[in-house]
């Protein structure tokens, strides 16, 4: 699963905390680190989320990646598919 690891703005800012090492220890892969030290896009297995949370410690939060679509007002057919 893909998650976003970000500094918690409501808490005291922390250093990058050797994030790469923490990710490696948590079996997570950095996909996009262009916004470090603020946040990073990370790939990891569902089962490893808790470990990553623990390894990151205070000052970091993990939020799920959410996908947004271009809003549309076109009406679409969603009824029963016809079987010929």
């Amino acid at each position: 699963m893909i998650v976003i690891v970000k500094q918690d703005f409501d808490k005291k800012q922390q250093q990058e905390n050797n994030l790469n090492q923490i990710l490696e220890n948590s079996h997570a892969t950095l996909i996009d680190g262009s916004m470090l030290p603020d946040m990073a896009r990370v790939d990891l297995h569902n089962n490893d989320v808790e470990a990553l949370k623990t390894n990151l410690g205070e000052g970091w939060i993990i939020v799920p990646e959410i996908k947004y679509s271009v809003p549309d007002t076109k009406r679409k057919v969603i009824g029963k598919k016809l079987i010929h």
Partner: protein, 500 residues
């Protein structure tokens, strides 16, 4: 019919940042929260009447706020407030996060959902629809959708080919609704409750850029002066332009693996249309011609945008010194990541606007539903689109004091709505120096952003404030005296529509 009595809801008021006041916070917020606290100390509960910030000569009843509980003297307050007064409260007392009170239950026991599948053989018939212009030239790439049962969304649809034709297999010659959506250059087509033949030709009306659409009915863009003071607007979308009527001052592509400098439109045209509503300054005019537009492309071509791309775009817009951010996008799911960046923008003096969403009167999407973001619903007006166009199908109650005004059938509504703005049948720019008509809260949002920019351009004292929460609060307070109700319920129009 007896009017529905106003609904009272419980909310938690929090400072824009942190859970208590800080040195960076607006001192007025601390004072306000302390005032609310004083009544609780005396009696356990406190009812306060708060004055409403309004346009001159406009009166609103005082806001009745019942303070139920408090965590710190200058911290969180549990309050009761009428839904009807939510928008008035947000504009009159900005700088607070307003979070609905939620109750948590034990997780329910897992259960096995049973799925029944039925198979039914249905006799189908084929029809051929040809879409052309008025001179019978075939139009390729138009989406055609024929509904035999609109309630169940049953029917057939597809795109016209090079000959302007599409063959559809349907179950009945009786068509409940037929929609044709051209990609650009023409108005769409709508017809309901008719019997179709095996072949049908539909001739579309070309867009006349001088036509008075609903945006230009409310805001006469061709007569508005060009804005000379610097106001920077971020458009977080599919990218913008190139278009001869648009000048893009900067921006970024925040999509993983794409060129950061490629923030032109990805081809879908949505962002170019949005930007044109704000700042087109050529053959057609946006509501704020002269503002500086920054494009942040977050939508890959025909793909979805990660919240990471959007968060990154907000961060870049803040760093680029933007004043307002337009987000004509949304999700039904609470997005903690995106919300935290909207809050960060607010703290840094940048005001975010977002579209309510187009889910047919469902609850307001995130991030619009977040209290530090201005949420915009879509307004339409009869007589501002040609007959037999798809805009006809968006007309639905409620109607305003002027009965030609209506809230579009697709627009999401709810107590989080702050403003309404024209979003039905809007003519604007499309990539390739073309023009298109689009509908949506996506179009209403930039109309509100552009008018806000135009109003704020006359207030260098506000725009010149240090980039902190007081600046954002100041923007909202100033805008609040330029809003008028159009006579809808507040869940549909919020405080109303911005006027010049």
């Amino acid at each position: 019919m007896t009017p529905k009595s106003p609904t009272t809801n419980r909310f938690i008021l929090l400072p824009a940042s942190y859970v208590g006041s800080t040195n960076n916070a607006n001192p007025e917020i601390k004072k306000f929260l302390l005032t609310l606290n004083s009544g609780i100390k005396a009696s356990g509960k406190s009812s306060v009447k708060l004055s409403v910030r309004n346009a001159p000569n406009t009166k609103s009843p005082a806001i009745n706020l019942k303070v139920i509980d408090s965590i710190n003297d200058d911290g969180a307050k549990l309050v009761e407030i009428k839904e009807e007064q939510m928008a008035d409260f947000r504009f009159s007392y900005p700088g607070l996060r307003i979070i609905p009170e939620r109750f948590y239950r034990r997780p329910p026991l897992p259960f096995q959902e049973l799925l029944f599948k039925t198979k039914k053989t249905v006799q189908t018939i084929s029809i051929v629809i040809t879409v052309t212009d008025k001179s019978n030239h075939p139009l390729e790439g138009a989406d055609v959708v024929a509904f035999t049962n609109f309630g169940n969304r049953e029917g057939a649809g597809g795109k016209t080919d090079g000959g302007g034709k599409i063959k559809l297999d349907i179950t009945s010659y009786k068509i409940e609704r037929l929609y044709v959506y051209p990609p650009h250059t023409y108005w769409g087509f709508f017809k309901n409750n008719f019997t179709i033949n095996a072949a049908m030709q539909i001739k579309l009306t070309a867009i006349d850029i001088n036509f008075q659409d609903s945006l230009r009915f409310f805001y006469n863009t061709s007569h508005l002066p060009t804005i000379s003071n610097i106001v920077k607007i971020a458009v977080i979308d599919t990218g913008v332009g190139p278009h001869k009527d648009l000048e893009i001052m900067g921006g970024a592509n925040t999509i993983e693996g794409e060129d950061e400098k490629d923030f032109a439109d990805n081809g879908e045209g949505h962002g170019t249309h949005v930007a044109g509503i704000i700042g087109a300054n050529g053959a057609i005019k946006g509501v704020a011609a002269g503002v500086q537009i920054f494009s942040y492309r977050v939508f890959p071509k025909e793909g979805d945008a990660s919240n990471f791309y959007i968060m990154k775009a907000i961060k870049k817009a803040i760093d680029d010194g933007c004043d307002l951010i337009n987000m004509s996008l949304g999700s039904l799911v609470l997005d903690e990541g995106l919300v935290s960046y909207v809050k960060d923008a607010y703290d840094k003096g940048v005001l975010c606007f977002a579209a309510n969403g187009n889910d047919d009167r469902r609850p307001v999407n995130f991030p619009a539903a977040y209290s530090l973001c201005v949420a915009v619903s879509a307004l339409g007006r009869k007589g501002t689109f040609p007959a037999n166009t798809i805009q006809k199908a968006t007309v639905k109650a409620p109607f305003g004091k002027d009965i030609k005004n209506f809230i579009a059938d697709f627009s999401n509504t709810g107590p989080e709505t702050d403003l309404t703005a024209p979003g039905v049948g809007i003519i604007s720019t499309f990539p390739g120096d073309l023009y298109a008509v689009m509908d949506g809260t996506s179009m209403a949002c930039p109309a509100a952003v552009g008018i806000s920019a135009r109003l704020l351009s006359s207030r260098p004292d506000i725009l010149g404030l240090p980039r902190n929460q007081q600046r954002t609060d100041g923007m909202l307070k100033f805008l609040s005296v330029h809003i008028k109700s159009l006579g809808f319920n507040a869940t549909f129009e919020g405080k109303g529509m911005l006027f010049l």
